[in-house]
């Protein structure tokens, strides 16, 4: 029975303590699961962090791995979602020679059409920022590649779910116990 491999966004709500990344990454490592992207930041709840991790695995694997995360003492809750269940975006930056803006006027059209934003311009280079789906970012990258990109960086996926994630309730329940 070969289950389909899909892209899952795993969200892990945690205490904001040292050493957790180590525990979380060890769980992927042990199971030979490659992390496509990883973002961690504060969440909507004070003192609670959220990891957003994108992996390509089967649903059975997703379910089991979420169980392993929830088992970690400092993990408050963990969830997995498919692309359809989330609203997600990625962002990236391009550094490009300033001279090109004048030598290759087409670039200005590309910037406009892609909804990219110019973050800064100086004599040497300018920096573009763009958020969106992976394919939009990739297509912009292809377009700009023709002219030469000095630096490119893409940040991990960030996502919110379409349904509610009941973490706050859990914390309240603990406080009222």
């Amino acid at each position: 029975m070969n289950e389909e491999i899909k892209t899952f966004t795993i969200s892990i709500y945690t205490e904001n303590n040292i050493g957790l990344l180590n525990r979380i990454s060890a769980i992927f490592q042990r199971r030979h699961i490659n992390i496509e992207s990883l973002t961690t930041s504060q969440s909507e709840i004070d003192g609670v962090n959220r990891f957003v991790i994108v992996v390509n695995i089967t649903e059975t694997q997703a379910k089991k791995i979420v169980g392993q995360f929830e088992k970690q003492i400092e993990v408050i809750r963990a969830f997995y979602h498919t692309d359809e269940q989330t609203i997600f975006t990625e962002s990236c930056m391009f550094k490009i020679k300033s001279a090109l803006l004048f030598e290759e006027p087409q670039i200005q059209n590309i910037i406009k059409e892609s909804n990219a934003r110019i973050v800064t311009v100086n004599k040497e280079f300018f920096v573009l920022e763009k958020s969106g789906r992976r394919n939009e970012i990739e297509s912009l990258r292809r377009d700009l590649n023709v002219f030469g990109i000095m630096q490119f960086v893409r940040a991990g996926r960030i996502a919110v779910t379409k349904d509610e994630m009941k973490v706050t309730e859990l914390l309240l329940a603990f406080n009222n116990q």
Binding site: G19, N22, K63, G67, K71, I73, V75, Q177
Partner: protein, 577 residues
């Protein structure tokens, strides 16, 4: 450090006093009821040792001869007492030497708190002398781990450590304390931890799940129970017995579940797994409902998962939600504390007896008896067998001994043939299979249960892995009984070489030293026997002795342990020879 704000606490020692961190460590241990700990000193933990010296009337430190010994001794203590075992070591090599014991405790759900010293915090990350990232190293094999760099954090973190180690599914916790935190001062007040917000230690049993489980069990024609250590950890022995008896269900155990129900119970059908009994393994693939209680479907139990109990509906009781559907897909899962869940189940069960079904187990037992057991415990050939040694120990202790076994053939024989009439009597390394476990674990077990016979059963290989702990036996005068079953081989590996590698005995033959002289060198009473007529007398003498006693039994060199399920085979393909 936010640890404190996330925990629920209860004050137990509120006369605030200004003391150094090292003293806070010892006072915290005392506040947790610790009266014994196992360890080995060194530079980075010296301030705590100095306090242990001052507090020696309240808390007894046992100097083992190796930190691995300390970890295993703490495990033995925890396994027989049901309390948290404590081990302590210095930084660097002291800390890394604990790791095998910690990993063993993690996979066997043993509550441990391990305290390690660490270099001063300003040196962290600088490759300082005896610095090692022990929190990083231990992360995958601990339930929780934490580093303390400020004295003020000590009581809060230790309280949390004890709570986590013993609650829910127990496990090992490591707390690493920098030397400056041990020297620094704090206003000491001890608050016991009673909850951690991100951690649900015991999920509440869902009555609907229990009802669904009861319905399946009531409708079963051929039900079978496999229980594991979860029953012992949950103190649910009486509840399990009541369930088994009311519903008349033949019940088998995993290696760590051994002793929860007495061996002699008429519904106790033996051990499952690679070297388990014939009937429960074989009939796993014929039962219509398989009820797993506090066990995790380890691969040594299931053999090939593709052919494991495929015909059966599976009901799984476990405290750890991550175990559900991990290896075997269940029809009904009851998540919660085993004592609670089984107590809820009992009134919903119909009283039944499954006589014809039980008879099937008895018939297969008779086959196993003829082909295997008879030769093991009533041998007719000349050489001594491991089985007859166990039989003699059963007789002399009336089945009341706690058996601490090492890893190998003797372990399987000990688990198969020891009479377990008292719960928490089988102390062995189940999940990790750690050779060298038994001698130090027996020390801890005997110290926790001085009124019980504690008999360590060890192979000649495993004995030499922590043989130095004879020094601890001697110095502490622990009256533990040590039986080495000497076959001059790494027997279990040799058995596999014989069966699966055409008898190529690569590096499994052992030329052994004179064990009796070694034991006597440690001033331990010692004897060697190799003839059947000496066996009864020697075991009598050993059990009757008030002191520690070492007995070497020279057994048949190339005996094998059967039944056996070869790796990757189906449980119903279990071999009798």
């Amino acid at each position: 450090m936010k640890t404190e704000t996330q925990n629920k606490t209860q004050v137990v020692a509120n006369n605030t006093i200004r003391i150094p961190g090292s003293e806070a460590v010892v006072r915290s241990l005392i506040a947790e009821g610790v009266d014994i700990l196992y360890g080995y000193p060194g530079g980075a933990i010296m301030p705590v040792y100095d306090e242990l010296y001052k507090f020696q009337n309240e808390i007894h430190h046992v100097l083992t001869r190796h930190e691995q010994g300390a970890a295993h001794a703490a495990q033995g203590y925890a396994r027989i007492s049901g309390r948290v075992g404590v081990a302590i070591a210095t930084s660097g090599p002291g800390a890394t030497n604990l790791i095998t014991g910690i990993a063993d405790a993690q996979i066997d759900s043993t509550p441990l708190v391990c305290i390690t010293g660490q270099v001063a915090s300003h040196l962290l990350g600088s490759d300082a002398f005896q610095e090692t990232d022990i929190v990083g190293i231990s992360t995958p094999v601990t339930k929780w781990s934490c580093q303390i760099t400020k004295a003020s954090e000590i009581p809060g973190v230790l309280a949390k450590a004890f709570y986590i180690a013993r609650s829910g599914r127990p496990g090992p916790v490591l707390v690493d304390i920098t030397k400056d935190a041990q020297f620094g001062e704090l206003d000491f007040e001890y608050k016991k931890c009673t909850g951690v917000r991100s951690y649900t230690s015991v999920p509440k049993t869902n009555p609907e799940a229990v009802k669904a489980a009861a319905d399946i069990i009531n409708s079963a024609k051929k039900p079978m129970i496999v229980w594991g250590q979860g029953v012992i950890l949950g103190k649910a022995e009486a509840e399990l017995k009541a369930v088994i008896e009311k519903a008349g269900i033949p019940s088998a155990w995993t290696i760590l579940g051994a002793s929860a129900i007495p061996t002699s119970h008429p519904l106790n059908i033996g051990m499952v797994g690679m070297h388990g009994n014939y009937a429960p393994n074989k009939l796993t693939n014929e039962c219509d409902v398989l009820i797993a209680i506090g066990m995790r479907f380890d691969d040594r139990v299931t053999g090939n998962l593709n052919t494991y109990a495929k015909q059966a509906k599976v009901v799984h009781f476990d405290i750890d939600p991550a175990e559900i559907d991990k290896n075997v897909k269940t029809d009904v899962a009851v998540i919660g504390d085993s004592k609670d869940s089984l107590a809820q189940l009992l009134p919903l069960l119909e009283a039944k007896s499954h006589d014809a079904w039980l008879q099937e187990f008895k018939d297969l037992y008779d086959i196993e008896f003829e082909k295997v057991i008879k030769n093991d415990i009533y041998p007719t050939k000349e050489g001594l067998t491991m089985g007859e040694v166990l039989k003699q120990i059963n007789i002399e202790t009336k089945g009341s001994a706690a058996i601490v076994s090492d890893v190998g053939q003797h372990q399987m024989i000990a688990c198969r043939y020891a009479d377990f009439n008292v719960s928490k009597s089988n102390i062995t390394s189940g999940g990790l299979g750690t050779m060298g476990f038994a001698l130090p674990a027996a020390i801890g077990a005997k110290m926790a249960a001085p009124d019980r016979h504690v008999v360590a059963i060890i192979g000649d290989g495993g004995f030499q892995m922590n043989i130095q702990e004879l020094g601890t036996v001697f110095q502490q005068k622990v009256p533990v009984k040590i039986v080495v079953l000497n076959n001059e081989f790494l027997g279990m590996v040799r058995q596999w070489q014989q069966l699966f590698f055409d008898k190529r005995y690569a590096s499994t033959e052992m030329t052994n030293p004179d064990f009796v002289t070694i034991a006597k060198g440690y001033y331990i009473e010692a004897k060697r026997i190799s003839k059947r007529e000496e066996l009864e007398g020697a075991i009598k003498e050993m059990i009757a002795s008030e002191n520690s006693y070492f007995l070497e039994v020279c057994v048949e060199k190339e005996d094998n342990v059967f039944p056996m399920i070869p790796t990757g085979a189906s449980v119903s393909d279990i071999r009798l020879s």
